[in-house]
Each structure stands twice: as structure tokens, then as C-alpha cells.
């Protein structure tokens, strides 16, 4: 599976630990979709932070994705749900290391 596919799978399954393991130790997620839901952007730096952040968001039903579709080798589209507010989003794996771990992933409104 490609990193973007693994990312979608982990997000759909609300698997915060599995999601974190897709990233390098200093890997990061920058999510800009929240601006449209009147929240501040999410910039999560580091594997442990990704684990803790999504454990919280999934646990309190503050983040989920639906209708996901991988559109090419590095991108997937989905409806991101921020505590009830839906945003059509596109996630892009921008950089991976030599072992396929994600170094940089962005999520932007589509």
C-alpha cells in the first residue's frame, strides 16, 4: 500500500497509533481545513504528538473522515468532519523518507 492509502485507512479506522507509525519521528501534519470551521489550523509536529492529538480527536469525536477516495499516488479526497462541521478536503503526502515513512502531509479544503 502507498503511504496515502495507509493514511486514509488509519483515518477511517480512527487508528491513532497506526496513523502515527506512518510518520517519521519528526513527521508532521498541517491541516488547513479547520479555518473554514472557525477553528485554528492544526499543525502537529512529531510522531508522538500525532498519536496523542488524534487519540484525543477521535476519542472525543472531533475529527473523522468519510467518502474517502485516493485520487493519485500522493493524494486522497474525503469529507473531513470537525465536530459536526463538514469540509471537502484533499490530503497530500508531500514528502516521504527512504523507508516510505511520511515526513510531511498537508490537508487543505478542496
Amino acid at each position: 500500500m502507498k503511504p496515502i492509502e495507509k493514511y486514509v485507512q488509519a483515518m477511517e479506522n480512527k487508528d491513532f497509533a497506526g496513523l502515527a507509525e506512518l510518520f517519521t519521528r519528526d513527521g508532521r501534519i498541517c491541516d488547513y481545513c479547520t479555518n473554514t470551521s472557525s477553528q485554528k489550523e492544526y499543525h502537529i509536529y512529531g510522531q508522538e504528538a500525532i498519536n496523542m492529538f488524534f487519540r484525543n480527536k477521535f476519542g472525543f469525536r472531533q475529527y473523522s473522515i468519510a467518502e474517502a477516495e485516493v485520487v493519485n499516488d500522493t493524494q486522497a479526497e474525503f469529507i473531513a468532519n470537525f465536530g459536526g462541521y463538514n469540509v471537502m478536503a484533499i490530503a497530500t503526502v508531500r514528502e516521504v523518507d527512504e523507508s516510505g515513512l511520511i515526513k510531511n502531509l498537508t490537508v487543505r479544503p478542496k
Partner: protein, 262 residues
Amino acid sequence: MGVYAISGASSGIGAKTKELLLQRGHEVINIDLKDGDICVNLASEEGRQEAVDTLHKMHPEGLDGIICNAGVSGACGNLPLVISLNYFGTVALARGVYDLLCKKKGSCVVTASNTISQGAGRMDIADLLNNIGDEKRVLSLVSQMDSSNLSVGNSLYVSTKYALARWVRRVSASWAANGVRINAVAPGNVNTTMTATMSTSAKMALNALPIPTKYGQECLMDADEIAEVMVFLASDAARGVNGNVMFVDGGTDALLNSEKVY
């Protein structure tokens, strides 16, 4: 050494704070419902007035500090108590001894909560508390809410703590101009008797609120981690700190709200 009053020091964070102040040679007066030096109910107007009157009688020369720590969680099942103790009890106590603090250029520390940054509070309630301040009306409104619903209790709790932190910010400038510093501490989830006796589902919810300094340990903050900061803020070492809401949560707020720099 100094004279410090502290509410809610019979257990938890308050007890640790009292212990640290005593270790540093200060006189400490505990205001609490049980086992206090002044035993009163700060959720009632009479109890608040009795606490203020007693402190004036005990130390007419003034206080070096007051730490307003007494409060209950939203899971206590008593919504009026959350409102009356957490917000009105704290504000009345701090205001009531303001003249004593002025006499000695003392400081005030208020216990808020790091939940204030997580969006779970009701801003309409927080606005009513800060902007109207009519306890009877707020209690009347709250009496129509479902006290058995944990999320209702939690949102009210967060509202009271948010309002407290905002009250601290609002009064801080004029208080400081009169020599009295006031700050708030916003703790994360702490190991106390209250959290130790929580239901399994409530504990699971607590553990879903990550504490980066405790990563992988599945444990909460220790009361002394919060108490150390309270003592610091109350001390002269923090003489340049005023109107600050200091998060003492091991980095939870930074994790969940990294963009909220100010």
C-alpha cells in the same frame, strides 16, 4: 515570612500548595468546608462573608497572598454548586480580601482549568457570569438543565473556569496599579481524590486528553506539579507576572492548540 490564605486546601492541589507554603516558613490559613482553619461554605453568600470577615479579624494588617483554589468538577452532579462555588465563591473571596492584599502589596492566584481552551464551555453562561454577575438568575437558568448529563456538567464547569480566567484578565491591570498582582493557573487533569474515585468511563475520557510530559504512562498530573507553580505565582519571584493564565498541563494545550500563541 508571609501570611497566605488559601481556599480548598484540605485536599488535592490546595493541600499540596499549603504544604509548600508552610515548608517555606509562611503562615497559611485554610478556608474549606471541612478541616479548614476557617470552616465555611464558599458556595453560599453567608459562608463567603464569614470567610472575609474572619480574615479581616485575624490579619487586619493585611495579607501577602490569597490562593482561590476551592472548586468542584462538572461531574459532581450538583450544577448550582459548580456555579456558586467555582465562580461566585472565588470572585467574592478575592474581592473581599482585596483591601488586605493592597495593604501588603500581595498577590492573588486563582485556579482555572486547561479545559478553557478546548471549546467545551458555554460562552453564553460565561458571558452571564462575567458581564451580568447575577448569581440568582444564573442559578435559575441552570436549574432547568439536566444535572444527570455529564456533558452538561462539564460544559458548565468549563464555563465557570473560563469566566474566572477572563475575570482575572479583566481586573489584573487595575489591581496591579494598586500593587496587587492577580494570575490564574490552568491545570490539566490531576491525580486527586476526586479523579481517583471517578467512574471507568470518566477515567477513559481523562486518558483521551493527552499529557505530553506523561507520554505513554497513562497517568495524570501530580498535584505538586501544579502547587509549585501556584506558590511561584504567589511569590515575589513572580513580581513581573500579572494577568497571566498559566497552563500547567504538561503541554496539552500546546498540543491541541498550537496556533493559539496569544
